[in-house]
Symmetry: none
Subunit: 204 residues, 4 copies
Amino acid sequence: MEKKKDPIRKPIQKRSIEKKKKIIDTTFKLIEEKGYYSVSTPEIAKVAGVSTGIIYSYFEDKHDILIAGVKDYMEQLFSTILDIPDDTKITPKELPERFDKIMKKFINSHKHLKQAHSKIMELVYSDPKVDEIYKELEMKLSDKIVSLLLKNGFNRTNINERVHVSIGLVNSLLYENTYHKHEKLNYTRMFDYTTELILTLFKA
Amino acid sequence: MEKKKDPIRKPIQKRSIEKKKKIIDTTFKLIEEKGYYSVSTPEIAKVAGVSTGIIYSYFEDKHDILIAGVKDYMEQLFSTILDIPDDTKITPKELPERFDKIMKKFINSHKHLKQAHSKIMELVYSDPKVDEIYKELEMKLSDKIVSLLLKNGFNRTNINERVHVSIGLVNSLLYENTYHKHEKLNYTRMFDYTTELILTLFKA
Amino acid sequence: MEKKKDPIRKPIQKRSIEKKKKIIDTTFKLIEEKGYYSVSTPEIAKVAGVSTGIIYSYFEDKHDILIAGVKDYMEQLFSTILDIPDDTKITPKELPERFDKIMKKFINSHKHLKQAHSKIMELVYSDPKVDEIYKELEMKLSDKIVSLLLKNGFNRTNINERVHVSIGLVNSLLYENTYHKHEKLNYTRMFDYTTELILTLFKA
Amino acid sequence: MEKKKDPIRKPIQKRSIEKKKKIIDTTFKLIEEKGYYSVSTPEIAKVAGVSTGIIYSYFEDKHDILIAGVKDYMEQLFSTILDIPDDTKITPKELPERFDKIMKKFINSHKHLKQAHSKIMELVYSDPKVDEIYKELEMKLSDKIVSLLLKNGFNRTNINERVHVSIGLVNSLLYENTYHKHEKLNYTRMFDYTTELILTLFKA
DNA sequence: CATGAATGAGAGTTCATTCAT
DNA sequence: TATGAATGAACTCTCATTCAT
């Protein structure tokens, strides 16, 4: 005989929403510290100060908490760029400076989330669902940049590919800078080369 | 009386060496197929055709087998470049063509190991020990390229940083190309932009 | 200070009585469909349209609801016979026909409750309390039949035992017919043999 | 990624066979005492004196142990009749006495397994797989009896149905006698009526 | 050297019951 | 009276590791 599960509860009251948030954040924090496979549901419950049972009222299963956390994190991460108003005006002259600012802000937000980032990347590689979320947001990011460029007259052939190569450059810098630091490298210089190359890609 | 663990045996006889190799290869193959956390030691033993017990004569624990496998794999992966003889001569004229060939070969070897690559990257991000191995090899790769460039007179300021930014570009292309493919992007064009940028970095 | 449990409430108001009835009926319906161990109290509450908490005002525990439902069901089941008026007159001539009618009606009511029957029998075997209820009702049934027979002059030695063997025969037929059907058996013939044997038992 | 389970081990060595038997017997004994749903796997392991893990080497899951136990039990139960040699000769004169002996033996073996019987019947009603086993064995029993009767010249019309009605009568007696005893009934008399009716069914 | 049966801690999950509101 | 969010003990099952043979 089949057992029907209680449907997942959508919290409405303030206390419930906070509790759900608490579970997500705790889970994410623990995953940051120890990795997804080393975090158990009883541990999450204990650290979050809730019972094991309640977790399964708000989430389908352990993996579901992860996804919620990843979504929150990624949205926060990419918001630096996604939140730029669509009607922002940039003159060619301002571009380098503008770009420099954004990149620094972006890299900074990563630094702040350093530990998390590597765990997230682990999941991007190991978890198809996380990969999908990441891919989607990356595309949104790319589309946003393309749109901003076009609106300000920086039209180029193959603009999508140019933007993607640029994003790759930034990611790679980020990766080196936040996670994989080699001692004998000077990251300020790498930053400069990176911006230089990107501007090259969009020079008239 | 305290119990002492049997020390890890270093195989000397040919048969033993082969057995150890078999365990490593089997483990790696299974990890490629299913990921580290989905492979169990009894399964490894069975597929490798050995007893579960013997595994713990050759390796400290499950993780230890992983490390051995990762080392083997990465050395193979980077051999495209690391095996280039130190006294190879390249004239400035040949450089673009030469470079193009190497990149294609590199990307190809990745494509071939596509499945493996994402599983390995997962481990780079999740396992400090794997990360260390990866970092070390990447540095060797970087050093090799710098050395080849210097020997052929392509001296540039901050050459290490330039090489690293280039490696980042290639990695990023690889990632997009093998693992994370977006449908609306033209990867041949991205390849071209990537080589173009790298050559820019080393233009006189 | 010791905590005292709220006593089980006996509903007096109409609305309460209806609510209690609703819980019993829902529980029984769900048990029929899925079996006792596959029905959860939150599910009962939901389907019955009440809160989980209120269930524990009306019933001691989950098992208590079951018992209430079983009682209702069994009374309904045996009513075919128990409701026959005590002063019913049957002549020896009418007996076979009369008996045939009753048996058919009885078997039919079972067929109708087929699914329920097996779930109930499971409980008769597994739950001492249910067994007791069943036993008691079976005895009432037996007494009723004996009384009807005596009032109509069908006195026989060991009449109680004869009636019980008859009841066993009918049960057995029921079981075969409703629950445990073997394909190669002709149940009409079995029905005929059963009635024949019972009449034999009461032949003068 | 899918995980492949270790296949269920078929014990070959004496010690393993005994261990498997021990698990089956312990499980069955515990089910007799408390019912299937009230027995836990750790409990089985503890009482059987094995580890929880080993259970899952020999059995697919908890239900699988149950099935093994039920099979053992039922074969033992029906062996009284199934083990009668096919070439047994019975003259019409001997039949009543012969039959009486077998029935007494059968009822006795039930009495001996009294507690078990009710738990098994519970499972016949609740577990489709157990029901199937029971049905199959009942059919074997029926076929055996038919075959014995035919070989000894007791041919009758609708012999299968006659035999089945007889089996029903015996079951019903058994049930009353071992499990569901009513105090005011004389079971010796019921036994006599039962045999009488069965003999009636096969009278020339 | 080698085996593989055995271990047992701990995983994710469920659900009868309680209690603050 | 009534609610339903919350509890947490207990469930089935897994698997890295050990050890008697």
